[in-house]
């Protein structure tokens, strides 16, 4: 792995995530915020954070682990608060990005209407969902992002329903850019965040964010789990431009699903048959492949 911290002297602002955050060991958000920091370079974003683990990340007042302005909002409000901030920044000729950093509960579920409306208005906001597929702050309840079969405290026998296809929903708003981010694909991650930062309008990024506490996995294996999620095809790595043109960034290998499931006890002792999940993944990939073939985006530049 490359070093996560920039070279001394290359930075003109405080680190986005300073030491002493309250994040658990192995939290995908910690690595995601550091890579986001790197992609931002010298740019200072204003973070808008709804109620979620990232609202706890900075610790307790008056200290804060966030080195950039961070506005914490009510659960369902981040995209609307960000709209207000972005509008005023634009009125005043300020180009610094307004960036929502939100969990899956605030994105897939309670914040869905707010998010959809901000996307429909094409507000100049970069919205990043760190998706740990669970209500983490409250101790691990199912959300619309929880995958089929996963045990949570409100799905003790495993979740019967499928994970909501949030990227398709956001792409359907025909926003300039929607993409998924992998913590096991650093170059792809940085390229996508930089591309998103270079665009105007509403941009949506979905980052799979391991939660060892809820996934019942080893903290040291978080990055490996993301690698397996991408390799198994359960978390496709792809981009959608203007909601109409598709680019797939990594192909599954059809061999990694068992390893992905075996390393997380949330999938243990349940009625889930890996073959059922395999069939679901295959259906989703057939659909994605057809879209990418029919409506291809140009290959990435640079």
């Amino acid at each position: 792995m490359t070093t996560l911290l920039p070279e001394p002297g290359t930075r003109t602002r405080p680190r986005l995530l300073r030491p002493d955050s309250t994040n658990c060991p192995g939290c995908g958000m910690s690595l995601g915020l550091q890579w986001l920091d790197e992609a931002l370079g010298a740019t200072t974003p204003t973070l808008v954070i709804p109620a979620c683990c990232a609202a706890v990340t900075p610790g307790t007042f008056p200290a804060s682990a966030y080195g950039v302005p961070a506005v914490e909002t009510t659960f369902a409000s981040s995209a609307a608060v960000a709209s207000g901030i972005a509008r005023v920044r634009e009125l005043n000729g300020e180009s610094d990005p307004t960036l929502c950093w939100a969990g899956d509960g605030g994105t897939y579920d309670i914040g869905m209407a707010t998010l959809s409306a901000a996307a429909e208005r094409n507000e100049d906001v970069l919205y990043i969902c760190y998706d740990n597929e669970i209500y983490g702050n409250t101790g691990g309840q199912r959300s619309g992002a929880t995958p089929t079969g996963a045990r949570t405290s409100t799905t003790p026998r495993g979740k019967p329903e499928a994970k909501k296809d949030i990227v398709a929903i956001m792409a359907a708003h025909r926003i300039p850019y929607a993409a998924t981010l992998s913590l096991a694909h650093r170059d792809d991650f940085l390229r996508k965040v930089k591309l998103a930062l270079s665009l105007r309008g509403f941009r949506f990024l979905l980052m799979l964010s391991p939660c060892p506490a809820a996934w019942k996995s080893e903290p040291s294996e978080s990055v490996e789990l993301v690698r397996l999620a991408v390799a198994s095809g359960i978390f496709p790595l792809y981009e959608v431009f203007d909601g109409r043109r598709f680019r797939i960034n990594a192909r599954p290998d059809d061999t990694s699903l068992d390893a992905y499931l075996d390393r997380q006890r949330r999938f243990a002792s349940i009625a889930l048959a890996a073959d059922d999940l395999r069939a679901q993944i295959k259906r989703e990939w057939t659909h994605l492949d057809e879209l990418a073939r029919a409506f291809p985006a140009a290959p990435p530049t640079g």
Partner: protein
């Protein structure tokens, strides 16, 4: 002054837009807008305004309307919106958030009862349900009162000694959809009255701060005490803002409590909103007939200035409250506050009348019925619903 015949909503929309425009040399104005009867024309007017430096967002809900105001205010803009009834309740979480974050947002409420069952007419139950949010609340009795109070509201909200949001209310339809002659100050006078907004603690990229993060019990108590202290500074700020208003616009805005004919009154009526002007007419008629009767307009409900209220009723020993609201299991909400204020005046006979719920007519005959009922009372009873023929099950 521009004199125009305007509805309450038209007048409110113009006052808000003038206040927003007055911040054009600072960080401009911004907020979220969402329709609900009977305030809709206000947000239509705001969305249609051609601001020199302003941007309003037509959002998908009242919850988001206040959220946009919160973001705009964090970014240093002057921010305002309007709502009513169920919209206000849907917005409630962010109404509290705006106050707790000490953001000087102004919201006009066209008061409407809460449903279902659906009813679009006036009572004060919607805004009074938010009485425990960290907001000032001002209840207007006329079109001119509404315009003046909106301008005053920005001045008070944005004062560094206060820094709290302000709700300015008008009775739905009774003010929002009726027309009166209104004096609208020209923009240059509004500019003179409302200085450019400079929020010292706004979110700045060159000075990173975290807003709204976790706080322990000690800090939380201190935070609430700071809000209480800011509320306690409201009277002096309101007085100054009123004096400055008179200097700039040449007329005095109505104060926290407006007492009329109370100097020698034995009996005093207390009311808020449009009920006040009806009460005035009845009181003046009875005065002409030699009765020692007066009334008090309850204008400022939050903060509730208990000592001022006691002073306003003077030496009266009989006080009747006309509550256009109802707290189930308790009674009139304003009466509760007034009863607390009068705890050291046990000789005062205080009776609560709940009137005009869901737009019920509060006309002079009803006030006469209330006064006749009150005259026959030797001691106070539980809150009474009026008129009786509706109230009796």
């Amino acid at each position: 002054m521009t004199r125009a015949v305007l509805t309450g909503n038209q007048a409110a929309g113009r006052a808000l837009v003038a206040a927003g425009e007055a911040n054009r040399d600072a960080r401009g104005c911004c907020g979220g807008c969402y329709p609900i009867t009977p305030q809709t024309e206000i947000i239509e007017h705001v969305m249609g305004a051609g601001f020199s430096k302003g941007s309003f967002v037509a959002v998908e809900s009242e919850h988001s309307a206040m959220a946009v105001c919160i973001g705009a205010s964090f970014a240093g803009a002057r921010s305002f919106t309007a709502s009513s009834s169920n919209g206000l309740l849907y917005m409630t979480e962010n109404v509290f958030a705006a106050g707790l974050e000490r953001l000087p947002i102004v919201m006009v409420v066209a008061n409407r009862t809460v449903g279902p069952p659906w009813n679009i007419w006036a009572d004060h139950g919607d805004s009074l349900a938010l009485r425990d949010a960290p907001w000032l609340q001002l209840y207007c009795d006329s079109h001119q009162d509404l315009v003046d109070t909106i301008l005053l509201a920005f001045r008070v909200a944005e004062d560094p000694r206060v820094l709290l949001p302000v709700m300015v209310t008008q009775d739905g339809f009774l003010l929002s959809h009726t027309s009166m002659v209104v004096d609208l100050p020209p923009q240059e006078l509004v500019d003179a009255y409302l200085p450019p907004l400079d929020l010292a603690l706004r979110a700045r990229t060159d000075h990173p701060r975290t807003y709204g993060q976790l706080m322990g019990p000690r800090e939380t108590q201190r935070h609430r005490q700071e809000i209480q202290a800011a509320m306690e500074r409201v009277p002096e700020v309101l007085d100054e803002a009123g004096a400055e208003f008179a200097r700039v616009f040449g007329r005095r805005p109505r104060g926290a409590f407006e007492a009329e004919y109370t100097a020698d009154a034995d009996t005093v009526l207390i009311a808020a909103g449009t009920t006040v002007s009806t009460v005035r007419r009845v009181v003046e008629a009875r005065r002409s007939a030699g009765e020692k009767i007066g009334f008090v307009q309850l204008k400022l409900f939050r903060p509730f200035l208990r000592d001022d209220l006691v002073r306003a009723i003077g030496g009266a020993r009989r006080v009747a409250v006309l509550d256009r609201d109802h707290s189930p299991g308790s009674g009139g909400i304003m009466w509760t506050e007034i009863a607390t204020s009068l705890r050291e005046r046990p000789e005062v006979l205080l009776q609560d009348y709940i009137v005009g719920l869901g737009g019920g007519e509060v006309d002079p005959p009803l006030i006469e019925l209330v006064l006749d009922d009150f005259a026959g009372r030797e001691r106070a009873e539980a809150p009474v619903f009026f008129p009786r023929e509706v109230a009796t099950p």
